[in-house]
Assembly symmetry: none
Homo-oligomer: 232 residues x 2
């Protein structure tokens, strides 16, 4: 069972949804047969690498969201995040284009460390006020999860993995994904948003039943069986 998760590293519901999904997956009996792949998605590819301003200024100036509305949105997000054990600090968030961070995630994925990198980058951005486009920061972060420092530096300094990020974006487009997080099961089912853990759990269970039906291996006609009403 392949689950692809389209997600931006600068998307708060992606981090909350990640926790809710992880809880459902941890309780799923067939979790060993689930393969999770993180896919890149950029909510705002037009941002400069480093935006001169706070997240609140960015949302006001480029998205036209009034400060009061941003506060209400953040209050809700902080509360929902806290409910999942996350400590969101929107006032410390560093605003910038997520393309470099996505290339870094693909580098990590190429070494089998995609999940570790995704978690670390989301936490750095939302909980620790770190600049996840900064090469020195990514070198430190990458080294802490087992990546090679020289390879991180040379990757970030080149356009390596740019093609992989663009391909993910193209695939999101071809799947009709316009908002994130977006969960895709075996390229067949889509789940949009940071749904409650119970919704993820139900989706896993019903998809599993549907794709692994029991094959009836003996004739049913005349089977000697007891039902709720009587035995045949």
């Amino acid at each position: 069972m392949d689950i692809e998760i389209f997600s931006d590293v600068k998307c708060p519901w992606c981090f909350v949804g990640k926790r809710r999904f992880e809880k459902a997956l941890a309780a799923f009996p067939h979790r060993d047969q689930v393969n999770v792949t993180w896919r890149s998605f950029q909510l705002d590819p037009s941002l400069p690498d480093h935006y001169e301003g706070t997240e609140q200024q960015y949302l006001a100036e480029r998205k036209g969201i009034p400060a009061e509305q941003v506060r209400r949105m953040w209050d809700n997000l902080v509360e929902q995040a806290a409910g999942e054990g996350l400590d969101f600090r929107f006032d410390d968030v560093v605003v910038g284009n997520s393309f470099t961070a996505h290339r870094f995630l693909h580098l990590a994925k190429s070494h089998g460390l995609g999940a570790e990198a995704k978690e670390a980058v989301l936490s750095a951005h939302f909980e620790q006020g770190e600049d996840t486009s900064d090469v020195d920061f990514l070198v430190t972060l990458g080294a802490s999860i087992g990546l090679d420092e020289d390879e991180i530096r040379s990757t970030i300094g080149s356009d390596r993995f740019a093609e992989e990020v663009r391909r993910d974006m193209d695939e999101a487009g071809s799947l009709g994904v316009s908002g994130v997080p977006f969960f895709v099961i075996d390229r067949k089912y889509g789940i949009s948003g940071a749904q409650p853990t119970a919704v993820f759990a139900d989706a896993l269970a019903s998809y599993w039943r549907e794709s692994n039906p029991l094959v009836i291996a003996a004739p049913v006609d005349g089977a000697e069986v007891c039902g709720p009403d009587r035995c045949s």
Copy 2:
């Protein structure tokens, strides 16, 4: 996703259309899941194996197209072909029945070399002034893409693969194909002509979306999601 391309080896728009389609396919995210099959189509089955005359004479005498009109047609074709990196030389073209070349293509296809053979035969005909009905030429060409020389010679000397060519022509007829190139996606959608690359790209993307729709597995209303404009 199966794509069948009906095409004659003596059809200039087939070669131009091939390039445009290939460009779209190369940029298509699901190209690994696309299976392309070349199908035979003869624009003029009534031609002798070797026609005594130039392409211009053929078009004047058998198709009744005035020389001046042929020139304008060729100028346009040469220009369009050049735009796709092709070097058409109509004055060198060898006129003749394409049946033998189509049998050769089916021989190549039976060894998994259909695409290589199609490309080589089109180039030989339009760019290199070669006689693609000539057994010695086909032996040399076939050997260069990995076919066995003896098998080519014995195939061309017999009526081997004649049935396959006729079957392709019959299928074209039953699908209503009367001009080429003609692209058929999963026996469901047809695209006629050497359309611009963007048209092929759009057709691939929309057909993919249509035939692989994600089933949305959880309520979308009220989903906690971040979109391009804002987070809910």
